[in-house]
């Protein structure tokens, strides 16, 4: 490749320089077949970055005290110098919005553009979870709709009422996700139109479910019909559709929170992959520019310095250790896939017969498009990575007074570690498995939830508070039972608490 005149590498950025670099990055990205949404790159100040933090990355959010709390926290830790701000935030939308911090040097801006505007952006567009669960083109409109709707409700029904409803929804937000069913995509106009109809329709449905006059006596059959007929995992959805006394506007708010939760769900499941993919590309693209002579030594050294910090993995006994760094794991795994394709060893041929020696670009694209963290790790974590990271697995059984090393980075351990690490990213193991079990429609209208423990891990103490929130939405008794291994179901929570003091609190 012919050497070209290098781009200006002075540390201060200007919009012209941003544009030049962006053009070159885009060219290289296209060369590596990165398919992206159009980019909208916004330059913001540190304060605005803190605003963005506070709204958990949503460019437009409804007003709620928790965001204020988060803002105050961020502001304080930042002002005391305990925390640096991220270099960028990127939003899964079309056009894909990325925020660049004003303080960044030119090199950092280039890194960030390659990372966010081409790495994350192409991930949002290509990964199957994002494709099927989120609709990038409508999210901004939807958030705007949500903000306005909540504001309107506050105006009509008072801030306190709306706040209480939102609090309750937030408490159940993690359980407002369809894990298996795929939602349909709709636009803002449709959403608005439907929302009106839905309000009325929903209320009528609910009314018919709770009709107090017995229609026919056949409901008193010997076989009592269960409602719901199957346990429901999406608690917020269940509330929205079935809670007896919710007002129509409250149902809509439940829906809004549920939708937003759903929107973020893929991001939770693809942390390692998403960051790894973005790191792979900022690394590859900028090195490509360096090979072409477009960026200088000075530039590439500053870049490598930042890059190394980002993908550093402190060891388990380091004071900086706080779990596995998703940037480090993801980046190294993608780089390793490339290595396996280009320079496979015998070990790689044994472990990855399908990809060893194949076209690396095809393979990384395939991996990005069709996996989430859990499956990505169980598919692609190679013995070499396990050795490089010196991974080891700890088995911790509450019954014992000790913890046991289950596996280390040796021949017998690779497979075990791979499985354990994959499970560690399996959201269904991480989040409490709680489902709506039953509603006593003919009796006291109480709602029963069932917790199924994973590996005998009990539910944390916050459950009682959450039950209060659930009770606020359901407005009749709420019970929580835990299914023990023996199969019996034990009540572990109830709201409101029984009038007589419960003899044995479990």
């Amino acid at each position: 490749m012919t050497k070209r005149k290098p781009l200006d590498d002075s540390p201060d950025w200007t919009f012209e320089k941003l544009d030049q670099y962006q053009t070159e990055i885009a060219r290289v990205a296209a060369h590596y077949r990165l398919d992206t949404y159009p980019n909208q790159i916004e330059v913001i100040t540190a304060e605005q970055m803190m605003d963005a933090y506070a709204s958990v990355g949503m460019p437009i959010g409804y007003n709620h005290w928790t965001y204020g709390k988060k803002f105050i926290q961020t502001e304080q830790t930042y002002k005391r110098g305990q925390m640096g701000l991220a270099y960028e935030i990127v939003i899964n939308s079309e056009p894909c919005i990325s925020y660049l911090m004003e303080e960044n040097t030119m090199t950092m801006q280039a890194l960030v553009m390659a990372h966010a505007c081409y790495g994350h952006n192409s991930f949002f567009k290509g990964n199957y979870l994002f494709k099927s669960w989120t609709d990038a083109s409508s999210i901004i409109d939807y958030l705007l709709f949500a903000k306005n709707y909540v504001a309107e409700c506050e105006h009509k029904y008072g801030i306190d009422e709306v706040e209480a409803t939102l609090d309750a929804c937030h408490a159940l937000m993690n359980h407002g996700v369809d894990r298996y069913k795929r939602p349909q995509k709709i636009s803002l106009d449709e959403e608005l139109k439907r929302q009106k109809e839905r309000e009325e329709y929903l209320q009528s449905q609910v009314n018919s479910l709770w009709r107090t006059l017995p229609i026919k006596e056949e409901s008193a059959d010997k076989k009592r019909k269960r409602f719901p007929s199957e346990p429901q995992e999406n608690i917020l959805y269940f509330i929205e559709k079935n809670a007896p006394l919710l007002k129509p506007w409250q149902r809509e708010i439940v829906r809004i929170v549920r939708k937003i939760s759903q929107y973020f769900y893929p991001q939770k499941q693809t942390q390692v992959m998403n960051e790894g993919w973005a790191c792979l590309w900022h690394y590859t693209i900028l090195n490509h520019l360096y090979d072409e002579g477009l960026v200088t030594d000075k530039f590439i050294l500053e870049f490598l310095h930042s890059h190394t910090n980002v993908v550093a993995q402190p060891e388990y006994n380091s004071p900086y250790y706080s779990g596995i760094n998703p940037y480090a794991l993801g980046f190294n795994m993608f780089m390793d896939i490339r290595r396996i394709c280009e320079n496979p060893t015998d070990e790689d041929r044994r472990w990855f017969p399908d990809i060893a020696g194949s076209n690396w670009l095809d393979t990384v694209h395939f991996a990005m498009e069709n996996f989430k963290d859990e499956s990505f790790i169980s598919q692609f974590l190679s013995p070499k990575i396990i050795r490089d990271f010196k991974l080891f697995q700890i088995h911790d059984d509450e019954k014992n007074s000790f913890i046991e090393i289950g596996a280390i980075h040796n021949d017998t351990g690779y497979q075990k570690i791979r499985t354990a690490l994959s499970n560690q990213y399996n959201l269904s193991n991480l989040e409490a498995n709680i489902q709506v079990l039953e509603v006593d429609i003919n009796g006291d209208r109480s709602l029963t939830l069932r917790y199924v423990a994973h590996n005998k891990v009990p539910l944390a103490g916050s459950k009682d508070e959450v039950l209060k929130h659930l009770h606020y939405l359901w407005q009749f008794d709420v019970k929580l039972v835990e299914k023990k291994e023996s199969g019996e179901e034990v009540e572990i929570g109830r709201c409101p608490p029984k009038a007589t003091p419960v003899d044995k609190a479990s």
């Binding site: 105050i72 000790f402 560690q424 891990v457």
Partner: protein, 425 residues
Amino acid sequence: MANFIDRRLNSKNKSTVNRQRFIRRYKSQIKKSVSDAINKRGVTDVDTGESISIPKKDMSEPVFHQGSGGVRDRVHPGNDQFSPGDRIKRPPQGGGQASGQGEASDSGEGEDDFVFSISKDEYLDLLFEDLELPNLEKTQLDKLVEYKTVRSGYCAEGVPSNIDIVKSLQGSIARRIAMTSSKRAQLKACEKELEALEADKHDHIKEVKELTLEIERLKAAIAKVPFIDTFDLRYRNYAKEAVPTSKAVMFCLMDVSGSMDQATKDIAKRFYILLYLFLTRTYKEIDVVYIRHHTQAKEVDEQEFFYSQETGGTIASSALELMVKVMEERYNANDWNIYGAQASDGDNWADDSPLCKKIMLKKILPKARYFSYIEITQRAHQTLWHQYQDVADQCGYFAMRHIRSVEDIYPVFRELFKKGEQSAA
């Protein structure tokens, strides 16, 4: 394809509403923190905000999540010493985990308070929500007692020290442009003509000579226009403007006889702090005069006022008389807004109380904006209270309240300064 947007100039306070929501939600806790903080401050220390702390558990955002215990398998990096099957003592709780979810609040442990600061204004607003300064309106309308010199444009005459150079030179430039423009036009025309003649192949000696002379004449005429003229001079103009006085003096009167114990004084101190803070909202300059009395009154500093102990009987009128004296000597009612606050446990020598009433009505209240009397006692009211009740009936800006314990301070203060009506007790 990319589109760059510079958002730096957009408003940065996107989170303001959320911050206010937060403060609104935790108002009761924040208020408690605020009123606790009052106690720690000196009377006149009001220039700072306040750091507020709220117990973390009050503001948790609960979610269903897995607790500790059960069976766990975790993978960690950096093995440097372990072999499969090694058994290690379980490290103390809290180490070695934290799932990928960032700060999924590990409720239970770490019950630190959530500490943050509010600005001075937020602090005072919280403290004085819905309160109004008594008689303020009246003061401002009644007495325009101070004059301030303010700039008011420019004028053509004045003393040299007030010359505004920029304005004057602007005038000079304008005048010169105006006076020379026609001559410049002629000059240009002549020069053009001269150029044309010189370019001509034929000689035009006479015309050239004439033109040269004309050009010289014009140049001289232009040069004659003076650079600056008295006509150009502009002077800064000043006018006097009446402003309402922004000075206030607050008299703190307190009984320090043997019957007043430290607890009672602390209650009184809180009351004075509140009053002082309240005044700072309106006045720029505030003097505080501390007068303590038993059988005799004495003007003292803050430290002595609150913390030195003396014993003796009680003659309240002595303090009132001293206040009158200080007012006459130092605080002319035309220049100063006078506020008074008296705290006592109600004990007074019975024969003295009618005298107090007299001084109050005749000498103090006519000059003061407001006077409040608080009685801090658990017992029944005595003569001073009854005498003052007469005063309160006659005078709208004399207020009195009864305080039993610390908790009463704030409500009583609020009641005294309630918005809208000047409640006479």
